[in-house]
């Protein structure tokens, strides 16, 4: 217990005496939380500019244009006369999409010209939202047209008998990009911070490339290592909890599952990152290598997590690496709890995060075995 306390209080002294370290666990997380929350604070993407090339000039085409605007979030910024003018606007980034309404709008016979929509898919996340809104407006107008024609011809048809597939998004029916990004970004940032702090606090104790003095002064062993990492685990987990409370309490995203369980998982991820990066620093005794390794496993964890594109279609080494990264398992737990999965589904992932934490601590211990 004395060893633990000695290491713990020594660490508090280190935080007080090192302004960069103090900043790294206070100002830096606060600023990044604030910046990302502020970045997404408008919630909606605002009025995204689009253009309509209207070759029909009919009441039907004007009504279609107002249907598109009625979807919300889109504004008709230009009405170019030709498709090539619209294309120039799209290429210059002035508009996100344009629709070409054919002369024959309203003709549902086979072979009639369809409405065409060209979307800028360079920015895939925004482009797909614009696409979805425009598609819904056009298909809605078309469905009305089919029904009108069918009823004029005297055939009976159900209102729901429309061509196509109904797609429903569970948990995020509004398909909010804000929620999705907010849920993804903050834990990834916090993990990278924890990893960098883990390296720094170990490197700070090195004298002539050795941790012998730290071991001698604290007593060493697992209790000293636990005492060393605990202050950072507490502070960074507190920031993680603040972020979740912001998301659930203020932005009012419902967590269908257990908030406490998700917080526990996040604290475990932070603990694992602190100890693993600390262990790399203690084993290699090279801050450059330890920081680079941390960037490699924590900095790109989001890309490998499958949170944006399912990883399953990737080459086998990519899938293995994704499974090997702690963040992948954390994100699974967090998102499952948002969706409302039972905790039992996620216990294996939590156990793995705990195993990473234990492995990190064990490697730290191994690195100082001779000094003890």
């Amino acid at each position: 217990m004395n060893t633990f306390r000695a290491a713990f209080f020594r660490e508090l002294t280190l935080i007080r005496s090192s302004r960069p370290l103090l900043a790294a666990v206070t100002i830096l997380p606060a600023l990044s939380l604030l910046l990302i929350a502020a970045m997404l604070s408008r919630g909606a993407l605002g009025d995204l500019p689009i253009a309509i090339v209207d070759a029909s000039h009919s009441p039907a085409s004007r009504s279609l244009a107002s249907d598109i605007v009625a979807q919300g979030g889109l504004v008709i910024a230009a009405a170019p006369a030709t498709e090539s003018e619209a294309d120039a606007l799209l290429r210059s980034g002035d508009i996100w999409a344009y629709a070409v309404i054919p002369e024959t709008l309203g003709d549902t016979a086979l072979g009639a010209d369809p409405v065409r929509i060209d979307v800028n898919a360079t920015y895939l996340s925004v482009g797909s939202i614009v696409e979805r809104k425009m598609r819904r407006a056009v298909l809605g107008a078309f469905a009305q047209e089919v029904q009108d024609q069918v009823s004029r011809s005297g055939l009976a048809v159900d209102g729901d008998d429309l061509p196509g597939i109904q797609v429903n998004l569970l948990f995020n029916p509004q398909s909010s990009l804000e929620f999705y990004l907010e849920a993804l970004i903050q834990p990834a940032i916090l993990q990278l911070m924890a990893a960098c702090v883990g390296v720094f606090v170990v490197v700070s104790e090195m004298r002539e490339g050795s941790l012998a003095r730290w071991v001698a002064e604290t007593g060493g062993g697992i209790a000293a290592w636990a005492g060393k990492f605990l202050p950072y685990l507490a502070i960074l987990s507190w920031w993680g909890a603040m972020w979740m409370i912001w998301l659930v309490g203020f932005r009012e995203w419902r967590m269908e599952g257990s908030l406490l369980f998700a917080m526990l998982a996040q604290a475990t991820l932070i603990a694992a990152s602190l100890t693993l990066s600390g262990a790399i620093a203690a084993l290699t005794r090279q801050s450059g290598i330890a920081f680079s390794a941390s960037a490699l496993y924590a900095g790109s964890a989001l890309a490998y997590s499958g949170g944006s594109l399912p990883i399953e279609g990737s080459a086998a080494p990519v899938v293995w690496w994704s499974e090997a990264l702690p963040f992948t398992h954390y994100l699974r737990i967090q998102m499952d709890q948002f969706l409302g999965s039972p905790i039992g589904v996620d216990l294996a992932d939590l156990a793995l995060l705990l195993a990473y934490f234990a492995a990190g601590l064990g490697l730290c211990l191994f690195a100082t075995r001779d000094a003890a």
């Binding site: 549902t108 065409r116 429903n168 995020n172 990519v318």
Partner: protein, 361 residues
């Protein structure tokens, strides 16, 4: 010290100091392969899904078999009810549940097209969209194939054709890799420069002694950054088969403007730190924030002005804009030039800041 001496002296330092070389050279090359790897397959494939087939007819059984055989989906469960399907979804056994109601065949024979519903976990929004797109295209293909025998070729004209421009099929690597490239180039050069300047200070000299030292150091770092950028634009983009539209001259111009501004930024920010560990502790965690501030996923126009302003201080933000406009979207040069102008202004401003901070020993 002449500019020439500072230039070659800096290149020597980069080569000799392992930490600097590994950040400025090795990390840059590694990330060109490592970062896009999980996106290389572009679209969701073999998405595990459950199908609730309430009709269980020859047509629907064929639909399920064809769906399973398709590239987009793998049918791993056939529960009896939608409630069971949703349980599977919550238990993470499947990513999507498809409901085929009774009466599908009758409706198809009447020429009314499919009436089926799909449930996807929307927590992962972009992932849900790629899953939805994979399943929808698989289903559309199946219905097109079935329309011959079952619908006799009759039906309703497709009312709408959507084209995903500049990124055919909405590929994910095509979207994320060009957008993240300027951030990779900016951050690796920033880390390497901060470590380099800290080494200089530790050896008892000023980070940047005078204007000539600054000019030579800046020119050396710009050279490295431009070479790295050209390596990405020329080699890694082609390796990932990204659609590219800009001609070589414009790509070189972007690499030059971006490299110059990035090197100036790295010198200004890097000279704030006295120890390399401190620099990496503070700078490394800013990487994700820098990427999101560039506007690749959440447009800059939708950010509050002060957030957008902070993003505008980063060279990567303008670099990404110029690169995406020119190379992905094929914008005319006249549209790209003002963005390059912003990069030059930003670079000049950072050089002045670097001179002021760097001279302090």
């Amino acid at each position: 010290m002449t500019i020439r001496e500072a230039f070659f002296g800096t290149l020597r330092e980069v080569v000799r100091q392992r930490d600097v070389a590994s950040l400025v050279v090795l990390a840059v090359l590694l990330y060109g392969i490592y970062y896009p790897a999980p996106y290389a397959h572009q679209r969701a494939r073999e998405v595990p899904m459950a199908v609730v087939d309430l009709e269980d007819s020859a047509l629907t059984r064929r639909l399920v078999a064809t769906l399973d055989a398709s590239d987009g989906a793998a049918v791993v469960a056939q529960p009896d009810s939608l409630a069971q399907g949703q349980q599977l979804l919550k238990a993470r056994k499947v990513e999507a549940v498809l409901l085929i109601p009774r009466g599908v065949t009758r409706a198809a024979l009447r020429g009314e097209g499919p009436r089926i519903a799909l449930w996807i976990d929307g927590v992962y929004l972009v992932r849900a969209k790629s899953i939805g797109a994979a399943l929808q295209s698989a289903l559309a293909g199946i219905f097109a194939d079935l329309s011959g025998p079952y619908l006799g070729g009759h039906g309703v004209a497709a009312p709408l054709i959507v084209t995903q421009r500049f990124n055919p099929g909405g590929g994910y690597a095509n979207y994320i890799f060009p957008a993240v490239t300027p951030v990779i180039l900016q951050q690796t050069l920033l880390f390497g420069t901060a470590v380099l300047l800290a080494f200089r200070r530790r050896s008892g000299r000023a980070a940047l002694a005078d204007a000539r030292d600054l000019a030579g150091t800046w020119a050396a770092l710009t050279t490295l950054s431009v070479l790295a950028a050209l390596f990405y634009f020329g080699w890694f983009f082609a390796f990932q088969s990204l659609p590219q539209q800009a001609d070589v001259a414009l790509r070189v111009a972007i690499a030059l403007a971006m490299g110059g501004a990035t090197a100036a930024f790295a010198l200004a920010v890097g000279s704030l730190f006295r120890r390399s560990e401190t620099a990496l502790l503070i700078l490394m965690p800013t990487t994700l924030t820098a990427f999101f501030l560039s506007g690749a996923t959440w447009p800059r126009a939708a950010m509050p002005d002060w957030v957008a302003f902070i993003g505008a201080l980063l060279p990567a933000t303008h670099g990404a804009r110029a690169l995406l406009l020119a190379d992905q979207m094929g914008a005319p040069t006249a549209v790209v030039l003002p963005v390059l102008g912003q990069l030059l202004l930003l670079g000049a401003a950072y050089l002045i800041v670097a001179l002021v901070i760097g001279r302090r020993a």
